[in-house]
């Protein structure tokens, strides 16, 4: 699950229906409107109550525009801050080197809904991890699959007795959150690690993901997602750049700065007692992962991001799937925003910087529609203020300046991530990301609009699964021979 848009602010994952309207737009509009109204009132007073409707409209639009530009500047500064921190700041990965310890019991949940193409790879990879076998249980969470997923899981489990706890779900509410909620009720282990079925965990990954839980304040952990099919076509290459920016820079910087790294629902895990304390997975939410991040934060638990805990995933290879995916993320994220924003702002037990970052993270998916509104107002003002060309010109300049510095901030982030990853030539594709940016902008704006309409009609959002593209068993990009397997003729067998 990704958390990156490549446009003002970063996206975050999402999954599920919307029960309440996001509260921010109302607050935001009030915030934007009040100065405009005051200005209007002042003018009306000065001109002996001759209210010029046209001027009032222009003032209102100017105020809204100023508010939007203000928000965009905040997100721009945030992007630059994160990128500069990753390039020059102190890096913080305190738990990554925990190599030996008394490891706690862990259940690895593999969420699967019609995953016959990929589930076997994920389960076989999990059977090879270096976590103590007596402490590790693999639990494929088969959620109402109608293909061969169940048969594949049963076959692999039968050939590895004692390693699996099976969870097949034939009915009930659809969606990963609902499935995980049902599965979690059967888990007694201290730590729950969650993977999607298309993920291929490395041998050392489970230990890396469990290590932060030795810190009693850590409630969730998130690793880095790396696109396996990055080279499939232009879309996957652009998504690869976006993912790199989102994880290598954005999430890592939030971890460095003690802000709010986001649990992404896969390649990560939660502490069971923390999950119980916050009421478990919320099956009403499309973005159960983001929801968990913020509910944990409200209850005094931290989420840790580990940039070196990497795992392969698939990214969409065709635009319609990508558009559906980002639309779903947008709706789910906005749903989480609606439920958590005010509580977050009012919670005095959360530090100011965490609250500020949390609010910016929650509001990230309302920025694209605001940007569209800003552009629209700019154009309208330009033509409506022909006698006051300076205002229109200033507004247009403001938006153009944002285009130069604001959009550049997100692109700078991606460029920095590519640099940190050691990739060189793919950075040349960066200008083409402007098209991905525009597609995301339109998709998210449409999703926000439809979410607004759904809220008015009190319609529930529906969870849609992202299509898989893998045709053959995955081949690891770099398979390294490990010392552990080799026999050493004439040398003592002393390899640990």
């Amino acid at each position: 699950m990704d958390n990156r848009l490549g446009i003002p602010g970063n996206a975050a994952p999402c999954r599920r229906p919307m029960a309440a309207m996001p509260r921010l737009p109302a607050c935001l509009l009030a915030f934007l409107f009040i100065p405009g109204l005051l200005a209007i009132a002042g003018k009306a007073h000065a001109s002996s109550l001759t209210l010029d409707v046209r001027t009032a409209g222009l003032d209102l639009m100017t105020t809204i525009l100023a508010g939007i530009i203000f928000l965009l500047v905040i997100y721009t500064v945030r992007h630059y801050l994160f990128t500069l921190n990753r390039l020059f700041g102190r890096q913080r990965q305190p738990y990554l080197d925990i190599e030996q310890a008394t490891w706690p019991a862990v259940v690895v949940c593999v969420a699967a809904h019609n995953e016959e193409r990929v589930i076997a790879d994920a389960l076989n990879a999990l059977l090879e991890v270096d976590y103590p076998r007596d402490k590790l249980i693999i639990m494929p969470v088969n959620d109402r699959s109608t293909d061969g997923t169940r048969a594949i899981i049963d076959r692999i489990a039968a050939s590895h007795p004692g390693r699996f706890t099976l969870f097949h779900r034939d009915s009930g509410r659809p969606g990963k959150a609902a499935a995980l909620r049902d599965a979690t009720a059967r888990i007694e282990a201290e730590i729950i690690i969650v993977f999607d079925a298309d993920y291929l965990p490395a041998r050392g990954l489970i230990k890396q993901l469990v290590a932060p839980f030795f810190d009693p304040e850590v409630g969730a952990i998130m690793g880095r997602v790396v696109p396996l099919n990055a080279g499939a076509n232009l879309l996957t290459r652009l998504l690869d750049l976006e993912r790199a920016g989102g994880y290598q820079v954005d999430q890592a910087a939030r971890m460095n700065l003690g802000l709010v790294p986001q649990y992404g629902g896969t390649v990560g895990g939660v502490r069971r007692c923390a999950l119980e304390e916050i009421g478990g997975w919320n099956s009403d939410m499309l973005a159960e992962d983001t929801d968990v991040t913020f509910r944990l934060l409200q209850h005094g638990w931290k989420t840790v991001y580990q940039n070196r805990s990497e795992c392969y995933e698939e990214v969409p290879e065709v635009w319609p799937v990508r558009i559906r995916q980002i639309s779903r993320w947008s709706r789910g994220h906005n749903q989480v925003m609606g439920r958590n924003l005010m509580q977050l702002l009012k919670n005095p037990r959360i530090s100011l910087r965490e609250r500020a970052d949390g609010v910016l993270l929650l509001c990230v998916f309302i920025m694209p529609p605001l940007l569209v509104i800003g552009w629209s107002i700019t154009i309208i003002q330009f033509f409506m203020t022909s006698h006051q060309w300076l205002f229109g010109w200033l507004a247009l300049s403001g938006m153009v300046a944002y285009g130069a510095f604001g959009t550049n901030a997100a692109f700078f982030e991606m460029a920095a991530a590519t640099y940190l990853d050691g990739n060189r030539n793919r950075i040349r594709l960066l200008p083409l990301n402007i098209f991905g940016f525009l597609v995301s902008l339109v998709a998210i704006s449409c999703a926000a609009l439809s979410q607004f309409m759904d809220a008015l009609r009190k319609r529930e959002l529906v969870w849609h699964k992202t299509e898989r593209f893998r045709m053959a068993p995955a081949a690891p990009a770099q398979e390294l021979a490990l010392p552990r397997d080799a026999a050493l003729p004439g040398l003592a067998a002393e390899v640990s």
């Binding site: 310890a101 030795f214 696109p227 990497e310 040349r428 010392p483």
Partner: protein, 355 residues
Amino acid sequence: MAYPALLLISVLLIMCLPFIPALQEWLRPTDVAPLPVRRNEINNLRYFADSFRLTIAAMPVIDLPKLQSIQTDRTVNISDKLHVVHQRLDGDAGKGYPPATLKVLRQKNGIVIFIHDAWLPPDSHSQADLFAAADLLVGDGASLRACSAQGVITLGADTVVHRWIDAPCIHVGSNAAIDGRITALKELNFCAGSRFVRAGAPVMHFGDASTAAAPAPQAPSPRRRHVLDDGARQSAALDQPGDYVVRGPYRIRPGSSVSGNIKTYGDLHLGEHSRIAGSLVSNKDIVLDRGCSVLGPVISQNDIVIGPDCRIGTPGAATTLICRKLTIATGCTVHGVITTQDGAKVVPAELSHGR
């Protein structure tokens, strides 16, 4: 009219400029591989040593039992970079190796294999990677690049190891410095004044550790979590079993026993003979006074100071200690792995700050 058109064309050309390499990379990809995730890689402090031994094991000409049975005292050059030393120095270490052998030891990027017990003279400089099939004795002031042995390695005073050193058992002399990793299958012994960056062994003794504290008991699981805001001084809450998050500095009273993990935002100070049946995590410094014992990982985002006679981990439950800079007094025992960013130093008990 011509000038505006020219200006427009120029602007469009400049705007299109970045798309030329972009289109080139799209149509003729040169960088499409996914980010390499080394799926077989695990956290293993002995990674370099294991790889080195595997490299030697994979050499068809190196069959140690056969080579050990050869009666010769020559140094055989298998290739420019690989040399086998057959010379025995039993009871005559002072005689040392012949100049030819000392020359290959100074060769950069070479591998030197000692078939029998080996001895490196004081103040010698070895730039080859060394492998000793038996024991290895390193004279005072010597400098090594990397070395592995199947027997015991003894580093003399003031020796320097630049990369890594690994053996079943290693004794590190006073003021010796290991700039990289030091690992042992069984035991490491550090003298006062020695320094290292990363170390790992089932048992690591610092100085004479015969008086190290008894191991802490195992904490019950699951545990309740307590969040304390008052900080600074130990509150009564700490007497209850459970995990503790303290939003500030914290000082634990001498002789206390805590059945759980402790996390502090500020400095964490353990009084003498405290016993922690869990982990210690601090955003700042951690100080352990004399005779403390900790069962789980000890993680500081800043420095750790460990006083004399402390014990981290147990023989049956190895653990990890992570910090920026570590100062550890003689008399301590650590079971597991120590990872520092800026290095660790062993200080005499009487000079330790954590008394």
